[in-house]
Amino acid sequence: MFAVVLLLIVSAFTFWIFSALPSDPAALTCGKNCRPEVIEANRERLGYDKPLVEQYGAYMKGIFAGRTYGEEGASVHCPAPSLGYSYDRHECVTSLIASTLPVTASIALGAFVLWMAIGVGLGTLAALKRGRWQDRLATGFSVVGVSFPTFFLGLMFIMIFVIWTGILPFPRYTGITENPVDWFMALILPWFVLALISAATYVRMTRNGILEVMNEEFVRLGIAKGLPRKRLIVTYVMRAALVPIVTIAGLDFAFLLGGALVTESIFNLPGLGKLTLAAVVNSDLPILVATTMVAAVFIVIANAVVDVLYGYLDPRVRVK
C-alpha cells in the first residue's frame, strides 16, 4: 500500500521536474526553421498548453486506459498502459520500453549472478584466510575493482577480447529466444564488466561482515558446543553475515534494471540505458519521464521485496 503511494509521489515529482526544464517539447516537434505559429499550434495539439495538473491527470489516465495522441486524421493510439508518445521517434513509449527492457533485464540478471558469486565467494575466502595471500589477493582485487571506471574496463575488454585476440565477436545483441548462443556471446563481456565492478564492493562487504560475525558471542558458543568448523561457518557465520548483503544486493539489482547507461552504450546494447541516453541527447521528454518512472518502480518493488525477504531471513524483524 505504502509502495503505491510512493509511486504516485515519484511519478508526480518526475513529471513536474521534467516540465520545469527549459527545453520546450513543442519546439522539438518541428524542425529547425519552424515558425512560431506552428510551434503554438503543435503545443495546443499536444496538450502542452494546459495546466500541469491537467497534463499529469491525462498522463495517469493514459497509464490505465490508453491514450490517443495527435488530432483526428493524424492520430496515434497507444493502448494501456500508455507512458506517452515520443514525437522524436514516432513511437509509443510503452512499446519502446517493452522492446528495450528484456535487453536490460538480460544484462542485469547475468551481471547480478556473476557479481554475487564473485563478490560473496572471494569475500568469504578472504575472511576465512584472513591475513594470508588469498586475503590480500581478494582485497587487492576489490581496491582495483572499485577504482576502475566502467567505460575504461568496458573498452579494455573490447580491445583485449574482440580486437586483439578475437576470442569474441563484436557484441551484437540477439534475443535469447532467437539464438541463445549469440545472446550469450553478446552479453558475456558486459556481464563481466558490471560484475567485476560491483563485486569489488561485495568482496569488502562480505569479508568484513564475516569477520564481524566471527567475533560474535554466539559463534564462540557454537565453537564451545563442539560444532565442526564447516558447519559453524555455513550455519552460523554465513547465515548471519549474508542478511545485510542480501538487502543491499536487492537494491543494487533493481538499480541495474533501471538501465546500465555506460555499459549499454559501450557494448551497443539496445537496452533501457541506451534508450535513456538517446532521449537525453534528443531532449525526448516523454521517454525520459517514462524511463525515470520505470527505474523508480523497480527500486520501489525491490524495496518491498527486500523488506519481505529480510523478515524471512531474520526472525527478529519478522512481523507476527
Partner: protein, 334 residues
C-alpha cells in the same frame, strides 16, 4: 584420578604494543562434582584461564604452554577433532551475556537439539525435540511446548541464561565452566540462576568452575576459591577460609572493599589503592606490590622476588609476609 589437572598454564597474547602475559604459571586441580570459583578483577586472567580449558582463546598470536589434563589427556596437545569432541560434551561452557550468546537465527529448541546432535550423530529429529523439551522443562522454562519453537529474542535475559544452561547440560558434561554467568543479569534473577546451576550440578554430578568478580556469588555456591591477580593465582583456599582468614593482602583488600552484613556501622569500606597493572609491563617481583600496604615492611623483597604459592595455615598463598601475619590479616593490623 583427578578429573582436571592444570599444570603451569601460561597464556600470552602477542600485540603490536608488546606481549600481554594474561596467565602465568597457573596450576590447579578439579575433582569430580566439586565447585571451584576463580575470582579476580577484569584483566586478572580468570576468563583467559577458563577459555584455555577448551582452547577457546582466539587471536592472531596466542601462545599457550603448560598442561591441561582432562582425565589424563592433555587438551593442549589434542588435534582439532579431539578438542571438538571434548567441547560441549566433557566440558561445557556458559557465557557471560545470554543476550548475545544464543544464535538469533534459530529457535531455542533447534539450538539445544543441535548441542546434543553434535555429539550424538545418530539422533533423530524426534529425539532431539524430545530432548530439547525435557531440557527446557528441567531448567524451569514455563510452557516448554510453546517455547521450544521460539527464537532467543522472544525470551528475557534470565530465561535465555536458563536456555544456555540447558544447552550446556544436554550432554551431561563432567565439567561445567561458567564464565560470569550472572554478571549481565538483573540482581533479582542472579540468585535464581545460581540456584539453578547448583541444582543442576547436584542432578548431573558435574564439577563447576565458576569465573566471577563477585564475592557474593562465590559465597553462594562454591566450595573452593582461587583468587587471581595479574595473571597469577595469589590465593587458593576453601570458601570459609577465604572469607574468614584470607591469607593474601589482595584477598583482604577485596573483602574490605565490599560491604557485607558483618561490616560494622562505623567501619569504612577500604578500596584497594591504585589500578591493576598493565599486563604488558608487569611490575617486577610480586605483581601486587605497588598497591600492597604491607610491601614496605619487607624491605625491597616484594619488588625483586615473585612469591610462589605456599601453604599458609590451611590455605595456599603467594605472599612473602610471614605466616602469622598472613593469618592475622583481617585483625585490623594494616
Amino acid at each position: 584420578m583427578t578429573l582436571l589437572s592444570v599444570r603451569d598454564l601460561n597464556v600470552t597474547f602477542g600485540t603490536p604494543e608488546g606481549d600481554v602475559r594474561a596467565v602465568q604459571g597457573v596450576s590447579f586441580d578439579i575433582e569430580p562434582g566439586e565447585t571451584v570459583a576463580i575470582v579476580g578483577e577484569s584483566g586478572s586472567g580468570k576468563s583467559v584461564t577458563a577459555n584455555s580449558l577448551l582452547r577457546l582463546n582466539f587471536g592472531a598470536d596466542v601462545r599457550i604452554s603448560g598442561e591441561i589434563l582432562l582425565e589424563g589427556r592433555d587438551v593442549l596437545t589434542m588435534t582439532e577433532d579431539e578438542v571438538r569432541s571434548v567441547r560441549g560434551s566433557d566440558m561445557a561452557m556458559i557465557f557471560q551475556d545470554p543476550l548475545t550468546a544464543l544464535n538469533p537465527f534459530y529457535t531455542v529448541g533447534r539450538q539445544i537439539g543441535e548441542a546434543y546432535a553434535i555429539h550424538h550423530p545418530g539422533a533423530t529429529k524426534k529425539e532431539l525435540r524430545e530432548i530439547a523439551l525435557n531440557s527446557l522443562e528441567k531448567v524451569g522454562i514455563p510452557e516448554p511446548l510453546k517455547r521450544v519453537d521460539q527464537y532467543p529474542h522472544e525470551f528475557s535475559g534470565g530465561m535465555r541464561q536458563r536456555i544456555v544452561i540447558a544447552m550446556a547440560l544436554v550432554n551431561n558434561p563432567k565439567i561445567l565452566i561458567a564464565d560470569e554467568p550472572t554478571t549481565a543479569l538483573d540482581v533479582t534473577v542472579q540468585a535464581q540462576i545460581l540456584e539453578l546451576i547448583a541444582e543442576m550440578q547436584a542432578q548431573h554430578g558435574s564439577a563447576v568452575i565458576l569465573i566471577t568478580h563477585d564475592l557474593g556469588v562465590v559465597a553462594e555456591i562454591t566450595e573452593r576459591v582461587m583468587v587471581m591477580y595479574a595473571g597469577r593465582v595469589v590465593e587458593s583456599a576453601s570458601v570459609e577460609n577465604t572469607f574468614a582468614v584470607p591469607t593474601h593482602p589482595y584477598t583482604r583488600g577485596l573483602l574490605k572493599s565490599v560491604k557485607s552484613l558483618d561490616t560494622a556501622r562505623h567501619e569504612r569500606l577500604e578500596p584497594i589503592p591504585g589500578t591493576p597493572p598493565s599486563l604488558i609491563k608487569l611490575p617486577s617481583g610480586c605483581p601486587f606490590h605497588p598497591r600492597c600496604a604491607f610491601a614496605d615492611s619487607l624491605g625491597g623483597r616484594c619488588s625483586s622476588e615473585a612469591p610462589e604459592l605456599r601453604i599458609v595455615g590451611s590455605s595456599r598463598s603467594a605472599c612473602h609476609l610471614p605466616d602469622e601475619r598472613l593469618l592475622g590479616l583481617m585483625g585490623g593490623a594494616s
